[in-house]
C-alpha cells in the first residue's frame, strides 16, 4: 500500500470515528482502524471522569505500534531454517519476560541454540494472534523446514511443526515463570534437531504448582497488553 492510500484510508477512518462519536453509527459496525481513532478521541473526552477507562485507553495507544511500513513475513525456502514467531508486543510494548529476562537476550539465546546445531534462525512478529500455539504453527508454516518456535512476550514458548493440529505441538513450555535462559537455548537446539530429523529428547519438563498463585494475574495483564498490540490486517512481519 502506498502512502497516499494510507492517507485516504486514515481520513475515512477519522470521519467514521467522528460519526460514531456523534452517535450516528454504532461502534460495533466500524473497522479496527476507525475504532482505534474513535477510542483515542473517546478517551480524551473521558479523562476527567473515568480514571480506569483512560488507563486502559492510554495503555492501548502506548502499546500500539504502526507496522504499516514493515516488510511482510515471507515463506522461507531454506530447508535449514527455524522461524521464531514472536508476540505482537515483543520488544515494543513489552521488553522483558514475566520473570524479567530481556527479550533481546532471549531471542539471541534461542538463536544461539539453533545455530549451535548448524541450522539458521529467522525471526518474524506475529500480529494476527496472541495464542502461543497458533503463533508457533504460523511460524512453522513460514519456515523453510516446517519447524517453528512461537514465543509470547511473557515468555511462554512452543516448538511446532507445520502439519500438526494447532493445539498440538512438538514441545510446549507453558509455565513461563520457570523458563530460564538455559531452557531457551535448549529450545533452540531441539528445534534445530527436529529440522535435522534426529531422535530428539524433549527438554526436561519443569513444574511448580505455586506458579499460578504467584503469576497468573501478571500473566493476564501481560497477555492483555499483547492482545491489544495485535494488528490483524498486517498479520505477520519480518522482525530484526
Amino acid at each position: 500500500m502506498d502512502s497516499r492510500d494510507e492517507l485516504i484510508k486514515e481520513v475515512i477512518a477519522r470521519v467514521i470515528a467522528g460519526l460514531v462519536q456523534e452517535n450516528k453509527i454504532a461502534k460495533d459496525q466500524i473497522g479496527p482502524m476507525s475504532e482505534q481513532i474513535y477510542l483515542s478521541l473517546h478517551s480524551s473526552d473521558q479523562n476527567s471522569t473515568g480514571e480506569k477507562d483512560s488507563r486502559a485507553s492510554h495503555r492501548q495507544s502506548e502499546s500500539r505500534v504502526d507496522y504499516s511500513a514493515s516488510v511482510q513475513a515471507a515463506h522461507g525456502m531454506d530447508p535449514k531454517e527455524v522461524v521464531i514467531g514472536v508476540g505482537a508486543a515483543f520488544q515494543t510494548g513489552i521488553k522483558k519476560t514475566i520473570t524479567g529476562l530481556d527479550l533481546g537476550e532471549v531471542i539471541k539465546t534461542i538463536r544461539a541454540g539453533i545455530e549451535e546445531e548448524g541450522m539458521s534462525a529467522r525471526v518474524v512478529k506475529i500480529l494476527d494472534t496472541s495464542d502461543v500455539c497458533f503463533m508457533g504453527l504460523e511460524a512453522a508454516k513460514l519456515s523453510g523446514s516446517g519447524i517453528g518456535i512461537g514465543i509470547q512476550s511473557k515468555g511462554t514458548a512452543v516448538i511446532h511443526q507445520k502439519d500438526l493440529y494447532p493445539l498440538s505441538n512438538l514441545e510446549l513450555f507453558s509455565q513461563a515463570p520457570l523458563i530460564t535462559m538455559e531452557i531457551y537455548r535448549h529450545i533452540g537446539k531441539n528445534a534445530a534437531k527436529y529440522v535435522k530429523g534426529e531422535r530428539v529428547t524433549p527438554v526436561t519438563v519443569v513444574n511448580d504448582p505455586m506458579v499460578r498463585p504467584s503469576y497468573q494475574v501478571k500473566a493476564a495483564l501481560m497477555h492483555i497488553r499483547e492482545t491489544e498490540a495485535l494488528d490483524e490486517h498486517i498479520r505477520c512481519i519480518e522482525w530484526n
Binding site: 496472541s130 511448580d208 504448582p209 505455586m210 499460578r212
Partner: protein, 554 residues
C-alpha cells in the same frame, strides 16, 4: 517509617504471596456483577427470540444466537422471565420446592437473568442450592494422575492407588504431548487394577483425544472448552457449533463427555468485553447445555488465579457451579488447580463444594505429589490424603475418598505396574524393566523413579498409533499374560460404550459396572432427613482412619 514487627510478620504469611487485584470491569476483572453486564430481557415473535438481554437479534454474536435458538425453552420463557430474580432465588433455597420445579423454571431464562439470580445468593445459600440441585444423589470425586516423566508405569500405579482410595474418575495429561497414547493406556489399565468401574480420560489436543476415545483407550472426555465471548472462541479456532459436532462425535461412539469452562479465561485471553466473570460463565454453560453435553467441568478451573484475585471471586466460583446444576448439568466442580500459598485459603475454597457435595467435588484432586501434577498443580494433592479423610470424619461428610492400608496400596500398585509391563511386552512397545516396576511401586513421586528412554518411548507411541492398537488389543494382551481380571474389567468398560447408560447425566459406575446417574439415582434432597446422608457401611469406612488411639493398649 519505623516498621511494626507484627506487620513484618504478617507480610511474610503465605497468603501475601498470592496475587490480588482491585476490580477493573473494563478488562473483565470483576467477579459477580459488572456495570456493563446486560439487564435481563427476552422478546419472542413468531416462535423466535428477537431480543435477548437487551440485544436485538440482528446484533447477536454467535453465542447469543446459539443460546436463543437451542437453549431457552420458548414454551417456558414468558412465565420464567416474569418471575422476579429474587423470588427464583428464594425458591432455590426453599426446601419445600423440588429440584424438578427449579429446573423447569430455569429452562426458560436468559444468561443475564441467571447471573441476576446468583447475585441474590450468599455463599451459604449457594451451598444450600448445590446440596439440593446437584444431579446425582451420592457425591463423587475425580483424580488427576500425572507425573513429570510421563512415566506410564507410575501412571498405572498411581491410578490403581487412586481407584482404591475411592475416586470414581481419573484424568491424565502429559508434559510431552506426544506421550498421550501411552498415558491413556496406562491409566486405563492401572485404574481397573485398583478398583473396577473407574472412568478414565486423557486430556490432550482435541483430535488426539477423540481418536484415543474412539480406540477405546479412554472411557470419557472432558476437555471440550467453551468460552463466554466470541473473540476468545474464534482465537481457539472454534464456535459453539463446532463444539456441538465434537460432542456428537463422542456420543456416536458411546463415550461420556463433559464440557469445560470457567470464569477468568476470557480475562486471561484478553477479551472479556467488560462483562463480569459470572455473566460470561453463564453464557458458557448455556452453550454447554445447547450443545447437548450432559455436564461440565467448571468453577474457574485453570484460571482460578484470576477469579480468586478479585473481590468475591470464590463466591463467584461456587456461584458458577450452581449455575451448572440449575441448568440440569452434571457439575464437576474444579478445585483442581493450585491458586494459593495459604493452606487456610485453599481449604476454605474447597469447603464450598465439599460440604454440600457435588457430582465430582474435585475435577482433579492430585493423586500424586503436586510437583508431579502436570495440570500445574491441584488445590489438594497426595500429601493431603490423610487431612482430607480426617475432615470427612470430623464433619461426617462424604468427600468421595476413604482411608486405605499401606499393604493393600502396595499390592494394587504392584499389580498395576506389572500389568503395564506385561502389556508393553506383549504389544512389542518400549521396555519396562523389573527395576523400574520396583521403584515405582514404592515411590511417592517421579523423583524416586528411574528415567525412561524418551526417544524410544516416543517412537513406540508412533508405532502403536500406526498399528491401530485399540482397547481390545489391551484386553487381549492382559488376558494372554495372566491378568484376566483386569482384562475382564476393561472389556466391561468397553461394553458400557455399547450399552450407553453411562451417557446419562452425572453417571459413574460401581464395582459391578452398574450405572449410578442423575437419572436412576437422582438427588432427592428436600431438607433434613431427606437426600443423601452418610450412614451405614460408608460411615464405618470413613470413621476407620489409621492412627487411632487404642484404649486397650493405653
Amino acid at each position: 517509617m519505623k516498621r511494626s514487627k507484627r506487620f513484618e510478620k504478617l507480610e511474610n504469611r503465605p497468603v501475601n504471596q498470592d496475587g490480588f487485584i482491585a476490580e477493573w470491569p473494563e478488562k473483565g476483572f470483576i467477579a459477580m456483577h459488572s456495570p456493563y453486564d446486560p439487564v435481563p430481557s427476552l422478546k419472542i415473535v413468531n416462535n423466535e427470540i428477537i431480543e435477548m438481554d437487551g440485544t436485538p437479534r440482528e446484533q447477536f454474536d454467535f453465542i447469543d444466537r446459539f443460546i436463543a435458538d437451542y437453549v431457552i425453552r420458548l414454551d417456558r420463557a414468558e412465565v420464567s422471565m416474569s418471575i422476579p430474580s429474587v423470588e427464583i432465588a428464594h425458591k432455590i433455597v426453599d426446601i419445600n420446592i423440588s429440584r424438578a420445579e427449579i429446573l423447569e423454571i430455569c429452562s426458560g431464562i436468559t444468561p443475564a437473568k441467571m447471573a441476576e439470580i446468583i447475585n441474590q445468593l450468599n455463599v451459604v445459600e449457594l451451598m444450600m442450592a448445590m446440596q439440593k440441585m446437584r444431579a446425582r444423589k451420592v457425591p463423587g470425586n475425580q483424580a488427576h494422575i500425572t507425573n513429570m516423566k510421563d512415566d506410564p508405569v507410575q501412571i498405572a500405579a498411581d491410578a490403581a492407588e487412586g481407584a482404591l482410595r475411592g475416586f470414581s474418575e481419573e484424568e491424565t495429561t502429559m508434559g510431552v504431548a506426544r506421550y498421550a497414547p501411552f498415558s491413556a493406556m496406562a491409566l486405563l489399565i492401572g485404574s481397573q487394577a485398583g478398583r473396577r468401574g473407574i472412568l478414565t480420560q486423557c486430556s490432550s489436543e482435541e483430535a488426539t483425544e477423540l481418536e484415543l476415545g474412539i480406540r477405546g483407550l479412554t472411557t470419557y472426555a472432558e476437555t471440550l472448552s467453551v468460552y463466554g465471548t466470541e473473540k476468545v472462541f474464534i482465537d481457539g479456532d472454534d464456535t459453539p457449533y463446532s463444539k456441538a459436532f465434537l460432542n456428537a462425535a463422542y456420543a456416536s461412539r458411546g463415550l461420556k463427555v463433559r464440557f469445560t469452562s470457567g470464569s477468568g479465561s476470557e480475562v486471561l485471553m484478553g477479551n472479556a468485553e467488560k462483562k463480569s466473570m459470572l455473566y460470561l460463565e453463564c453464557r458458557c454453560l448455556f452453550v454447554t447445555k445447547g450443545a447437548g453435553a450432559q455436564g461440565t467441568q467448571n468453577g474457574s478451573v485453570s484460571c482460578i488465579g484470576i477469579t480468586s484475585s478479585v473481590p468475591a471471586g470464590l463466591r463467584e466460583v461456587i456461584g458458577e457451579n450452581v449455575v451448572a446444576t440449575l441448568l440440569g448439568l452434571e457439575c464437576c466442580s474444579s478445585n483442581d488447580q493450585s491458586f494459593s500459598h495459604s493452606d487456610m485459603r485453599r481449604t476454605a475454597r474447597t469447603m464450598l463444594q465439599f460440604f454440600p457435595g457435588t457430582d465430582f467435588i474435585f475435577s482433579g484432586y492430585a493423586a500424586e505429589d503436586n510437583y508431579d501434577n502436570l495440570f500445574a498443580g491441584s488445590n489438594f494433592d497426595a500429601n493431603d490424603f490423610d487431612d482430607y479423610n480426617v475432615i470427612q470424619r470430623d464433619m461426617q461428610v462424604d468427600g468421595g475418598l476413604r482411608p486405605v492400608s499401606e499393604e493393600e496400596t502396595i499390592a494394587v500398585r504392584q499389580k498395576a505396574a506389572k500389568a503395564v509391563q506385561a502389556v508393553f511386552r506383549q504389544l512389542g512397545l518400549s521396555e519396562v524393566t523389573d527395576e523400574q516396576v520396583e521403584a515405582v511401586v514404592y515411590a511417592h513421586g517421579s523423583k524416586e523413579t528411574l528415567n525412561r528412554d524418551v526417544p524410544a518411548d516416543l517412537s513406540a507411541v508412533e508405532d502403536m498409533m500406526k498399528r491401530g492398537i485399540t482397547g481390545i488389543d489391551v484386553v487381549r494382551a492382559l488376558a494372554e499374560t495372566g491378568f484376566e481380571d483386569i482384562a475382564e474389567s476393561i472389556l466391561n468398560m468397553l461394553k458400557q460404550r455399547i450399552i450407553g447408560d453411562y451417557l446419562q447425566t452425572a453417571a459413574i459406575l460401581d464395582e459391578d459396572f452398574h450405572v449410578l446417574s442423575g437419572v436412576n439415582t437422582p438427588n432427592d434432597y428436600r431438607g433434613p432427613g431427606t437426600g443423601y446422608r452418610v450412614s451405614g457401611k460408608r460411615w464405618e469406612e470413613i470413621k476407620s482412619i489409621p492412627h487411632l488411639i487404642d484404649p486397650e493398649k493405653f
